[in-house]
């Protein structure tokens, strides 16, 4: 067969401009690209349908542009703008003679690829089923009206033309029914990834969603993927934290010192050393134990004093123990041991200086008695309290672990909040019963 062009031209009856027909035989209506007039090409002599003074809108994808989507080359041959009274969107008609038609739907900078279905969806349990995937009802009874039109179409499209529509969604997909008195058609549209549509037709990147913006009915929450991808990272981080905690939280080289303190006597000051911090900064743990304190308390002040610089790092413990009998029987309270932690001691040689003072609790009659020889009250000598200190390098700061865990959990919690905000904004547009938790869970499904 001789090479024949696939594009035919005709003169616009309104402006005389040369207008191309790209899908000859299918196309019925052609909107002149120069003057916007609608031309009827269903019959041999092209007739003018409507004359538009308004020149063609400047389109994101100029008609005649070709682009490859999913391995098929498509040519944009028609464009129309529609509204349902709330929102407005644009639809490009894509054509390839071997693959038929597709719709490229643009709304709020997001692009979807629509395919007309040849099988009617199945209705089951309030949902529509196509190829085993279910779609839940979103918009009930909308009316989509054509507001502007350019290019060619396989039906006689008119400005003002209206169809009844219903939409069903699953994340990333929308199933739409459009019907009038003569025809019923189902279209399945899939939200295109930003790089897909950009590569195909060089359109600007879709905008990022921020709280306050209204997502499309079938737009998948961008946070689902992020929450999912955080799971392995989070798990690794938590394991690493636990490893760090057990490896470096260990205490090493414990040294124990002890001395007695007389209750209600003078404060006892003792110095122990040397205690060496070999490198860097090191946490120290000091365990104070007063195993025999009874009806009293011991104030223990400790200080690590650097031998060279005389810098001092201090901590304080109060060990106490009381017991007795009352109508309920025996009781006891207080703790005979405390664990003190001194964080980040710089490298160096230290003395541990301990000041301890023991006190006995009770009336003077209990604690003192008249000494006839000395002619004065004397404190009954209480048994001395043994103070024992165990110093070790390293410390397990559990609070740090919880803080780290919280920090690790902040991003997914934040994303979860954003996901719920996104889903609320998306579902707020839904017709019918108010969205519930099951809708959010659906929103978590993989596109």
């Amino acid at each position: 067969m001789a090479e024949e062009a696939t594009v035919r031209t005709l003169a616009c009856p309104a402006c005389g401009g040369t207008v191309a027909i790209r899908a000859a035989g299918y196309t019925v209506t052609l909107a002149c690209e120069y003057c916007g007039s609608l031309i009827d090409v269903a019959h041999p002599d092209a007739r003018l349908i409507t004359r538009y003074a308004e020149a063609q809108a400047s389109l994101t994808i100029p008609l005649g542009t070709r682009g490859s989507l999913r391995g098929v080359e498509w040519e944009a041959i028609g464009w129309l703008e529609r509204t349902d009274g709330w929102a407005a969107w644009e639809e490009y008609l894509l054509f390839n003679p071997y693959h038929g038609y597709r719709w490229l739907i643009a709304q709020d900078g997001q692009w979807s690829l629509g395919t007309m279905l040849t099988a009617t969806p199945r209705y089951d349990g309030g949902e529509m089923i196509v190829d085993g995937r279910s779609y839940s009802s979103f918009y009930h009874d909308n009316r989509a009206r054509v507001t502007r039109v350019v290019g060619e179409f396989y039906w006689r499209v008119k400005v003002g033309e209206e169809v009844r529509s219903r939409d069903y969604v699953r994340p990333g997909f929308m199933l739409s029914l459009e019907e009038d008195d003569r025809e019923q058609s189902w279209t399945l549209s899939e939200l295109l990834l930003a790089h897909e549509i950009r590569q195909a037709f060089d359109v600007p990147y879709p905008p990022r969603w921020w709280p306050g913006m209204t997502p499309l009915a079938h737009q998948p929450s961008p946070y689902v993927q992020r929450i999912r991808s955080w799971v392995p990272i989070g798990a690794i981080t938590i394991v690493a934290l636990l490893v760090l905690l057990t490896l470096f939280g260990r205490t090493m080289q414990p040294q124990t010192f002890g001395f007695p303190v007389t209750p209600d006597g003078a404060s006892v000051s003792q110095s122990f050393g040397p205690i060496t911090v070999p490198v860097g900064r090191q946490a120290m743990t000091v365990e104070t134990l007063t195993s025999n304190v009874e009806q009293g308390w011991v104030d223990i002040d400790i200080a690590f004093v650097n031998r060279k610089t005389q810098e001092s790092y201090e901590a304080y413990a109060l060990n106490e123990h009381y017991s007795g009998y009352d109508s309920d029987g025996g009781w006891s309270e207080g703790s005979r041991s405390q664990t003190l932690k001194v964080a980040s001691l710089p490298a160096g040689t230290y003395d541990l200086v301990v000041d301890a003072q023991a006190h006995h609790w009770g009336s003077s009659a209990d604690s003192s008695s008249w000494n006839p020889i000395a002619g004065r009250y004397e404190t009954v000598s209480q048994p001395p309290v043994d103070v024992s200190l165990t110093v070790a390098r390293g410390a397990r700061f559990l609070s740090n672990f919880w803080l780290a865990l919280l920090l690790v959990l902040v991003p997914p919690l934040l994303m979860l909040v954003l996901h719920i905000l996104f889903e609320n904004a998306r579902l707020a547009q839904k017709d019918g019963p108010d969205p519930d938790a099951s809708d959010w869970i659906r929103g978590m499904a993989n596109p």
Binding site: V28, P97, T120, Q184
Partner: protein
């Protein structure tokens, strides 16, 4: 195969299917009807308008489990558009139709309209209208009415099972189901007929000898 001289212009007219009585003369567009003795001209078919369908007379493929070759076409129009019905000559000598509308293809075979007829079909046969979305049970399967139009024959080419004069008018109602099956009911002033089949893609047909469309890459069908 049988060759007769066109009664109008004298050119050779080739009938490939012994079952098909009508052929459009490739030169003068006369509708040639084959009779027991020779052929008779039945008026003239309009010249087909230019279209860029990927199918052409001579396209071959596989459908309904059989090889086929396209040997004829009727182009129908309705108020707001037009479509092609391609005639497939099946390997077993029978014929079937490949409907091509809005870039979608329907493979259809005529079935006998016999009683008991589906309620919707009975109403249609009696001249009552139906509405899109209405359910119908045809041959034991559930369908939905998707499309109702009054159609007019625009033009035809090749061999045909009936004379298809330009301007021939009929009522056409399309049905679909959830498995991609389809049915088409057509009724003109004289008779009603029913076609059953399913939607196909070009790839499903493993087509050969498709029409080359300059500027477009023909997909490689296996």
């Amino acid at each position: 195969m049988q060759t007769v001289a066109c009664p109008q212009c004298g050119a050779d007219v080739l009938f490939r299917s012994p079952a098909l009585p009508v052929r459009v003369c490739g030169y003068c567009h006369a509708l040639v009807v084959r009779r027991a003795q020779g052929a008779q001209a039945m008026g003239e078919a309009a010249v087909l308008p230019f279209d860029i369908s990927p199918i052409q007379i001579g396209t071959m493929g596989h459908c309904f489990g059989l090889d086929f070759e396209i040997i004829g076409r009727v182009r129908w129009s309705w108020e707001d558009g037009a479509w092609n019905e391609w005639l497939m000559l099946m390997a077993d000598g029978d014929h079937a139709w490949l409907g091509e509308a809005m870039g979608q293809f329907m493979a259809l075979r005529e079935v006998e309209l016999k009683n008991p007829m589906a309620k919707v079909l009975r109403r249609l046969a009696n001249g009552t209208t139906v509405v899109p979305g209405e359910k119908a049970t045809i041959s034991g399967h559930d369908y939905v009415v998707t499309d109702i139009r009054t159609v007019t024959c625009l033009a035809c080419e090749g061999e045909l099972p009936f004379t298809a004069p330009s301007g021939w008018e009929a009522l056409s109602v399309d049905f679909r189901n959830k498995d991609g099956w389809c049915a088409s009911f057509q009724k003109d002033r004289r008779e009603a007929s029913l076609y059953l089949g399913h939607y196909v893609t070009l790839a499903d047909l493993s087509p050969r000898n498709l029409r080359t469309l300059p500027g477009w890459t023909m997909p490689a069908y296996g």
